[in-house]
């Protein structure tokens, strides 16, 4: 009888113990991998290099990105179809999902973690939501010119002081929306920044906002620490009038890397990464690379920059050594390397290889492959360490 009771107790309580153990885990080394074709994502354990499970029903993720809550428990996923989804990484459940627009391109979370902003192509502008409930907080239509037409918005980032900054693709303007007074946003507009801005970044200190210009041979820069911030053209004429190659994929500027005292930027329409002095914004070098760079991402210590490329050369990854500005390693994970993400201290890097349906993990010193995880058409990889970085 006693034995029977003991067995019963184990049967009854064992699942609870397991459940509790599952609940009692940190989230600082979790992450997500977007599965772009199936509208799903996989929650991953970065330390164990293991997939924990799949979350489905996220809509069209063909171009998707994510930000994380300050407690690193929730991911906010921005889909192409205007869907904004809140995913609990611990329970691996879709907690809430709103369709907030017809066509979107990324989002951001405010410095206090309370506001989620989404950048929309259709209808053009930015919408802002409460991060707890996803209830609407503000709508900022990107109207410009005399006709009041709405511009697509790109390059949306958070900035210190409860601000969001974004760029109007059709209008060539940069807008700063300041939510610090608790009510509706105060908006500051910078017009005439240049032709066809396609993406932007903010440096990790929240000081410099830089927009890439497809229609110009240069970039638009704002120093947000200036007493009177204004837009300046930097790297003007970096192509020096040379004919650009056709661009089969727009570079992503979020990956623009700050490595030591340099910014490393993918050049548009050129097989080059540009090295720029991070104080003067003068060009200090160019590194010839395998193709047109899409992401040029610095290892967190800034010693290396890893680069992937546009179609049709997107099977290759190259590693630039920053001090010598030389390509020190090239390898071919296979067709359609779409994204890469470093572990927070940079010892490993995760690389998504869409066409072979896997994510590969490499040691960043030996360049050895140390793991492979099967994933369905993987694209973006996002680790929760982003929760604590400005602009990510």
């Amino acid at each position: 009888m006693r034995l029977f009771l003991a067995a019963l107790a184990i049967l009854v309580f064992a699942p609870c113990v397991e459940l509790q153990a599952a609940e009692l885990r940190g989230t600082g080394d979790l992450g997500i991998v977007i599965e772009r074709a199936s509208g799903s994502l996989q929650v991953i354990d970065v330390t164990a290099r293991r997939a924990l499970g799949r979350v489905e029903g996220l809509g069209d993720l063909s171009h998707a990105s994510a930000v994380f809550s300050p407690d690193q428990r929730y991911a906010f996923v921005f889909g192409r179809d205007g869907g904004l989804s809140k995913v609990d990484l611990l329970s691996r459940k879709l907690v809430k999902r709103v369709m907030q627009a017809g066509n979107s391109i990324g989002g951001a979370i405010s410095d206090d973690g309370r506001l989620i902003a989404v950048s929309n192509y259709k209808p053009g502008g930015v919408r802002v939501f409460d991060s707890e409930t996803l209830a609407p907080v503000a709508d900022i239509p990107a109207r410009y010119g005399d006709s009041g037409a709405r511009s697509k918005t790109v390059g949306l980032v958070d900035a210190p002081g409860r601000r969001f900054i974004f760029t109007l693709y059709d209008a060539g303007e940069i807008w700063v929306a300041d939510f610090s007074n608790g009510g509706g946003p105060a908006i500051t507009k910078f017009a005439g920044i240049g032709d066809l801005p396609y993406d932007a970044l903010i440096t990790g200190d929240g000081r410099h906002y830089i927009a890439g210009l497809f229609g110009e041979d240069g970039l638009a820069h704002i120093d947000l620490w200036a007493a009177e911030p204004r837009v300046e053209r930097i790297l003007d004429g970096y192509g020096r009038g040379e004919e650009k190659l056709p661009v089969y994929k727009m570079p992503h500027l979020e990956g623009w890397a700050r490595a030591g005292d340099r910014l490393m930027l993918p050049a548009v329409g050129r097989h080059e990464v540009l090295a720029v002095d991070a104080d003067s914004f003068q060009e200090v070098g160019r590194i010839a690379v395998h193709g047109q760079p899409i992401f040029a991402v610095a290892r967190p210590d800034g010693r290396q920059v890893w680069v992937n490329f546009a179609h049709p050369l997107n099977d290759t990854v190259q590693v630039i050594d920053v001090p010598s500005q030389e390509v020190v390693h090239s390898f071919k994970p296979g067709p359609a390397v779409l994204h890469l993400e470093f572990t927070p201290r940079g010892h490993e890097v995760w690389i998504s290889v869409r066409d072979s349906d896997k994510v590969e993990v490499y040691d960043t010193r030996s360049f050895e492959k140390i793991a492979e995880l099967p994933m369905a058409k993987p694209s973006g990889i996002f680790f929760t360490a982003r929760a604590h970085r400005i602009g990510l």
Partner: protein, 110 residues
């Protein structure tokens, strides 16, 4: 941008009418599957994987009703200068571009 685009399309149309060799627009079945994949994945990076639009315009049949397949094929081969739409000549043959143009208009991209 609208007038420029119409002009581009009608110019391209004129060139075709003016007696450029008409392409057959036919491709072997394996190539058709590869082209569908290219359209969704690589055109999709600007036009959306569902082709409902992104930085580039939607490429769904309703959106392309006003344009002829020949003119669209020319746009695909030569791109639209001054915009991010790149020329695909060199990557795609004329037959392939025409196949894509027709498949887009008819909603046949798998």
């Amino acid at each position: 941008m609208e007038p420029v685009r119409l002009l581009t399309l009608s110019l391209a149309g004129l060139v075709v009418l003016a007696g450029m060799p008409a392409y057959a627009g036919e491709v072997p079945p394996e190539r058709a599957a590869a082209l569908s994949y290219l359209v969704r994945q690589d055109c999709g990076s600007c036009h959306g994987m569902t082709l409902r639009g992104g930085l580039g315009r939607p490429l769904v049949p309703e959106a392309l009703e006003g344009a002829g397949a020949d003119a669209l094929a020319e746009v695909i081969l030569d791109g639209i200068p001054g915009t991010p739409m790149p020329p695909w000549r060199g990557q795609l043959s004329e037959d392939e571009a025409l196949w894509i143009a027709r498949a887009l208009k008819e909603g046949r991209i798998e």
